[in-house]
């Protein structure tokens, strides 16, 4: 087995360990019916052990891949996103050691699983580094950022638990709507994973010729049946489905098609869950958080930002500027990725000031933490895939 294969297998091991741990955490929390926390403690121990085993395998994946490629595996969409899933679990383990909260694991691990699954939809073969990335700063800058984002994301998980407990689901409210929207968007990611996996297992491929936004002829390969066609498209594959609509040249109909399939599959899945359970997705999870200590969740929310914010400042701004000065001759160029790192940073600065200066604790803080996670995900996914710039990896 080559080092690269070993690395891929270790990632599977980690994935499966996290999957099992999720259910054990869920059982631990659910078993705590009378709120005595005795069985929760016992099963929580089993679950955290599984998580740590998974995390060690995950680290194994990371360093064996580093060995195989000769550079820190943080250079494309697959690698960066996988690393984010890993640091998310790492951040959780850190805060678990401080606060012993199985309910947090029940939320963090499924999200980490989704993120790793999402990452695996991108090309995962080891790829060489372009000149701009050939620097020790790749490892220094990107690893600091990804650790910071993993820790910051824990605050959103704590916030979500907080909200699941305090939001009254029996009454129609903005809070209830948005909480359900969070669940729905997580299921959409699952929709993306399912549709991508299905079409790649069935080897779907359709080629088209089109005219790009500079007016040049170009070709594109669809790996999903084309719902949208590129500007002035001509099918090159015989039995390809005829797109339902043609998009203007600035819109990448291939990506739009992928997003649309994810929406279709995710939405069907969402309604299936609701029909079978006969309640909102949030309501399915609410019983699990019945015995949660709200003050503790608020504390975890704040604590992870206290750890994550300085790390993020260091990695995403200071190290980023140093490297940009070396590689691109200017420390700041208003590239979309840079701008979104600045936005993330400003957002958490606002969080700190609102909390410290305006007393925004508890529920308000919880919502802010969730929004912070949304911004991080936006920077990771949308800015890489939609907004083109120097940092576009995929």
């Amino acid at each position: 087995m080559s080092l690269a294969d070993l690395s891929a297998n270790l990632l599977y091991v980690a994935f499966i360990a996290y999957l099992i741990a999720t259910f054990v955490f869920g059982g631990a929390v659910k078993g705590n019916k009378n709120g005595s926390f005795k069985s929760e403690k016992r099963w929580g121990k089993v679950a955290i052990t599984l998580t740590v085993i998974g995390f060690i395998a995950n680290l194994g994946y990371f360093f064996t891949r580093w060995g195989a490629t000769g550079h820190a595996p943080l250079s494309n969409m697959f690698e960066f996103t996988t690393a984010f899933g890993m640091t998310l679990v790492g951040g959780f383990i850190l805060l678990y050691l401080l606060y012993k909260t199985p309910v947090l694991g029940m939320v963090v691990l499924p999200v980490a699983l989704l993120i790793i699954a999402f990452a695996s939809m991108f090309p995962s073969e080891v790829s060489p580094l372009i000149p701009a990335l050939q620097s020790n700063w790749l490892a220094i800058h990107v690893s600091t950022v990804v650790v910071a984002e993993g820790v910051l994301a824990i605050s959103a998980a704590a916030g979500l638990v907080y909200l699941l407990k305090v939001v009254d689901l029996s009454k129609n409210s903005k809070q209830r709507f948005w909480l359900e929207a969070i669940m729905y968007s997580l299921i959409l990611v699952l929709g993306f994973v399912i549709s991508s996996t299905y079409f790649s297992l069935t080897n779907y491929e359709a080629n088209f010729e089109y005219v790009d936004k500079e007016g040049q002829p170009a070709e594109i390969t669809y790996n999903m049946p084309p719902i949208f066609g590129m500007n002035e498209y001509v099918a090159l594959t015989d039995d390809a489905m005829t797109p339902l609509a043609e998009t203007p040249a600035v819109i990448n109909a291939g990506k739009l098609t992928t997003v649309t399939w994810s929406f279709i599959v995710g939405t069907i899945l969402y309604w299936l869950i609701r029909l079978i359970a006969r309640k909102r997705v949030t309501a399915i999870f609410q019983p699990f958080v019945k015995n949660v200590n709200l003050n503790l969740m608020d504390e975890i929310n704040y604590r992870s930002i206290i750890i994550g914010f300085p790390l993020f400042s260091l990695g995403a701004l200071i190290f980023a500027m140093i490297w940009a000065q070396i590689a691109w001759s200017r420390f700041w160029g208003w590239d979309p990725k840079e701008v979104w790192a600045l936005i993330t940073w400003l957002f958490y600065a606002a969080y700190l000031h609102l909390r410290l200066g305006k007393g925004w604790q508890g529920e308000k803080s919880a919502w802010l933490a969730v929004v912070g996670f949304a911004i991080i995900m936006f920077n990771l996914v949308a800015v890489n895939l939609i907004i083109a710039g120097l940092h576009s990896y995929a």
């Binding site: 080891v126 060489p128 500079e214 600035v250 206290i306 300085p310 701004l317 400003l346 200066g357 083109a388």
Partner: protein, 550 residues
């Protein structure tokens, strides 16, 4: 407004809520509070004291956290707008008109609107810079407004606080004590690394006061950073030049007087996917060629101070260096970066002067395409004169040949050929793959032999004297953040009254859990009276009230 004298004798600045020295409540509002407002030690912040003149109003505006956060949020939203479409620096157009046309052509009406609103260059727009300026002012004003009185108050605090101060602290306890309670408490607190000072029947234990300065230190870091960014607008602090240099050329480095650079070779390498790169085979197959290295091998020269202007023969070699991406050449505060390249620019063309019929040749001539000679002497008395040279020929205007750029992309030559047989000379206009004979059929022609090419490197020259200032700002920011976030300020006040009753109070700016842990240790050792967390009690009462209502 007047200064306020406390019953204890201390004179406080106007607007003080809690006496700096003993902690008595000085205002009615504060007297009615069940818990003292300890955020800024009850000090007189300018913004809370004066609100009359226009200066007061401006000061109060910028010192408000609400306004500060609003500025941050507006800035964050504004910044995001600039990422909807690419900024002008990233579009393939460089004049005002072509940029405007680009947004209209590629993005249609939304693109036109985006451009019309100035969002294509959002980050250098007046209003965006003004927002950053407001952020800076807010940082300065808010920090001064809080730091100065807080510093005064913590410096003036005394050991013995008034009872009314102590019982309004969140952590408060009162009860009988032993004879050695005070001694033991002092010993234990010292063991826990508190600074303990005593006065008569009381003690003040304090730890981590410096963490109170954390926010101000980090704000100073940010202000220094913004100041550094502003400095670069002053000439001399900042150089940003582009230099295109051909292989074999030596050129003066723009904005770096006395320095010259020679390009010996430019190299572009791509990954092969073979041998030790075999792991990358799959990726290379999927995406095609991947660049591995861009490199310009250069020699850096310097002219001596006393050298005559224009003289280039006395230059001294300073350095020989391969400039690569991520490895700029550095000298004397400057850095030269590998940024761009053009492969295979035409360097020179070689022709032979031949008789069209007999193919008899008078030999060859080579025309340098950057600095062509005007006159060429060939064998047997034949000559060629270059009447006109058009490096980037793009058609005729009024019969005159035109050149689009000074770069030799499509060279055109207007030549006069003279031989012993045609002493009057024959005129010919030569292009690649085409010859025009404007004055009728010629006997001789210049037949193309070969061409030499070379690569051109696009280098960027930077000098940025503000970098140390920016680095200092960043460092101070990080220190301040760590100082404020990872440490906290804890204080205990303990007094024993004549009858043996001990009263104690505790305060921290954050992490009450840690404070209580310390206090528990001291209590156990020195048998202090039990304490309560008065805020948690009020909160629990509130919770209960809330539950009754719903």
């Amino acid at each position: 407004m007047e200064k306020v004298q406390c019953q204890c004798g201390h004179v406080n600045p106007p607007g003080t809520d809690l006496c700096e020295s003993c902690g008595r409540s000085l205002t009615e509002k504060e007297q009615n509070n069940t818990l003292a407002d300890m955020r800024y030690e009850g000090t007189a912040r300018r913004s809370q004291t004066y609100n009359k003149s226009i200066v007061d109003k401006i000061w109060n505006f910028f010192s408000s956290v609400k306004i500060g956060v609003s500025i941050i949020v507006v800035l964050l939203v504004a910044a995001s707008i600039g990422t909807i479409l690419p900024q002008q620096a990233y579009v393939p157009a460089n004049t005002e008109a072509t940029i405007k046309a680009y947004y209209a052509d590629v993005y249609g009406v939304p693109g036109q609107i985006y451009h019309a609103l100035g969002f294509h260059d959002l980050y250098s727009s007046f209003w965006f810079i003004a927002l950053v300026g407001m952020l800076a002012i807010s940082l300065i004003v808010a920090s001064l407004d809080r730091f100065v009185p807080l510093y005064r108050s913590l410096k003036n605090q005394r050991v013995l606080r008034h009872v009314s101060f102590m019982n309004k602290q969140r952590i408060y306890g009162k009860g009988p004590g032993n004879e050695d309670t005070m001694k033991k408490a002092e010993a234990k607190l010292k063991e826990l690394k508190y600074n303990v000072s005593t006065d008569k029947n009381g003690l003040l234990a304090e730890k981590g006061r410096f963490s109170r300065w954390g926010p101000y230190v980090n704000h100073i870091g940010l202000i220094i950073f913004l100041f550094g960014v502003m400095l670069r607008m002053i000439p001399g602090f900042y150089v940003d030049e582009t230099l295109w240099i051909r292989e074999g050329e030596t050129r003066a480095i723009p904005d770096a007087p006395g320095y010259f650079i020679e390009s010996q070779n430019f190299e572009l390498e791509t990954y092969t996917g073979e041998d030790e790169e075999a792991v990358f085979g799959e990726a290379i197959e999927r995406v095609g060629n991947v660049a591995k290295n861009y490199q310009t091998d250069v020699v850096l020269y310097q002219k001596p101070e006393d050298s005559l202007p224009g003289a280039t023969d006395d230059m001294e070699v300073v350095d020989e260096y391969p400039i690569r991406v991520n490895q700029p050449l550095k000298f004397d505060g400057y850095a030269v970066y590998q940024m761009d390249f053009r492969l295979d620019e035409l360097k020179s063309m070689t022709f032979a002067l031949t008789d069209k019929e007999t193919e008899e040749s008078f030999g060859e001539l080579t025309i340098d395409l950057i600095n062509p000679d005007e006159f060429y002497e060939l064998e047997n008395g034949a000559t060629v004169e270059l009447l006109g040279y058009y490096p980037d020929f793009d058609g005729f205007d009024n019969g005159e040949p035109q050149t689009a750029t000074p770069l030799p992309n499509n060279p055109g030559f207007l030549v006069e050929m003279t031989t012993p047989e045609t002493p009057e000379g024959e005129t010919s206009f030569i292009l690649i793959q085409e010859t025009i004979e404007p004055f009728g059929e010629n006997q001789y022609k210049l037949s193309f032999q070969n061409v030499e090419t070379r690569d051109v490197s696009g280098l960027t020259i930077r000098k940025d004297k503000t970098l140390p200032i920016l680095g200092l700002g960043g460092l101070i920011f990080m220190i301040g953040v760590a100082q404020g976030m990872y440490f906290n300020h804890r204080r205990f006040w303990i007094q024993q009254q004549e009858d043996g009753t001990v009263i104690l109070a505790g305060h921290t700016n954050k992490n009450w859990f840690g404070l209580k842990k310390d206090l528990d240790q001291v209590s156990e050792f020195a048998s202090l009276p039990a304490y309560q967390d008065q805020q948690e009690e009020t909160r629990e009462q509130d919770d209960k009230k809330g539950a009754e209502l719903t």
